[in-house]
Amino acid sequence: MKKILSFTLNGEPCEVLCEDNRSLLDLIRDDLGLTGTKKGCEEAECGACTVMIDGRPVNSCATLAREVEGCEVLTVEGLAKDGKLTPLQKQFIDKWAFQCGYCTPGMIMSAKALLDHNPNPTEQEIREAIEGNLCRCTGYAKIVEAIQATAAEMAEMAAAQKGEV
């Protein structure tokens, strides 16, 4: 039986009818049409389906849609504002941190979760943050570089802002 599910999706309130056995991943992609979040393994192994729930990166394939009742869900579509990419997204492009791009949305969500609570991570911390995200084409070096460059850019921006005040 379908029941109403309400939560916040990318900052907007969302109400949708959904079955108890619907995964969050299928809800996002098939019912809500946000296909940025990818389906790789559906086994909680590859990380392509990573989204953020209340600030935490999780595998949406291993999450029931019902679990996010009342929660804030953020997908890759919720990052850019008015067509303007975030520094993290831009750095992925500038540093050639993807090839086929299938792992990228998940990679970016994991990186965002890391940078949100640790703006100045070590390389080790970056590698640990993306340990649950598999990339089969780029190799991880460029991805790590993009995340490092983002951290540096944001530190610079913060310093500049402080200077202005």
Binding site: N59, E67, A113
Partner: protein
């Protein structure tokens, strides 16, 4: 792939959860993070089917990390592995527990999965069980008629089987404090650093008097149908002074404490030999301790 049909229930009090669990009987499952429930269900793995899924995430008061001088570390059944791994309190009071939490799966899974869920899933290669057993932890069990403390050493019955009675819920863990003269460590040996199961996992808890071992509890993971105590290794250790020779002997003794199988990760022979090596290393690690920032 679509998940099999079930009804999802989200009680908001422990009483409500207990009532549902007891009324619905064997067709019901308790879920916290769900990371060990949802993927197997999708695969239609044996034992994964259920008619009712009782999500206890909305029950208040079960997500905590506390420390009590007498009882030690207390961890709630909704406390996520990531929060245990990164907890300053856990790292200070018993870093091996933080290390064990960090060994589980991936960052994403640890942001959802709980330590209590990890033990209730009762996988032979469960990463958090060996250190909990070695440290003498108990599970706080809430039953319909009575509550009880179930020592982790008596928790596991078989592959994916625990000694919980029908209708019982684990609400938390209590890990006794490490005294000045006690130390502990857990080492996992796996091919990959993340998203991999242990070939062998060894936890060591030691009580020392200078160089002499006064008491010891060694627990092996992934080398039998449940995590197992290495009693022969402990016997070889207790009452003796630490030396290379002794550790050699203890490692060999540990080999007789396990019954590993061959699988895609390693052959039984290899696991046997790695039990010897990693028992030594776990003891050395416990004695050496964890450095700041190491976990």
């Amino acid at each position: 792939m679509v998940l099999p049909k079930f009804e999802y229930l989200a009680p908001t009090t422990l009483d409500e959860a207990m009532q549902l669990y007891n009324e619905l009987g064997s067709g019901a499952k308790i879920m916290a993070g769900g990371t060990d429930i949802i993927p197997p269900m999708r695969d239609k793995a044996p034992g994964s089917k259920c008619d009712f899924l009782i999500d206890i995430k909305h029950v208040p008061g079960l997500d905590y990390i506390e420390y009590d001088e007498k009882q030690g570390l207390k961890i709630g059944c909704l406390t996520k592995l990531y929060d245990i791994q990164t907890s300053k309190l856990v790292r200070e009071k018993n870093p091996a527990v933080a290390q064990a939490a960090k060994y589980v799966a991936s960052t994403q899974i640890r942001h959802k999965g709980t330590m209590v869920g990890n033990i209730c899933n009762a996988s032979p290669s469960c990463d958090t069980a060996p250190i909990l057993i070695s440290c003498g932890a108990v599970a706080k069990v809430h039953g319909r008629d009575a509550d009880r403390d179930l020592p982790l050493g008596e928790f596991f019955k078989g592959v994916k089987k625990t000694n919980l009675e029908p209708g019982e819920i684990v609400t938390g863990l209590v890990i006794p404090p490490l005294a000045e003269d006690e130390c502990a460590a857990y080492i996992k040996f796996s091919v990959r650093k993340a998203m991999d199961l242990a070939i062998v996992g060894v936890a060591a808890w030691l009580k020392m008097d200078g160089k002499k071992v006064v008491d010891a509890r060694i627990t092996l993971g992934a080398v039998a149908i449940t995590p197992v105590r290495a009693y022969n290794a402990e016997k070889a250790l207790i009452g003796n002074e630490i030396s290379d020779e002794l550790l050699q002997k203890v490692g060999v003794a540990a080999m007789s404490d396990c019954k590993p199988i061959s699988d895609v990760r390693a052959s039984a022979e290899y696991r046997h030999d790695m039990v010897r090596v990693f028992t030594k290393r776990a003891i050395m690690k416990a004695l050496e301790g964890y450095k700041e920032g190491e976990i």
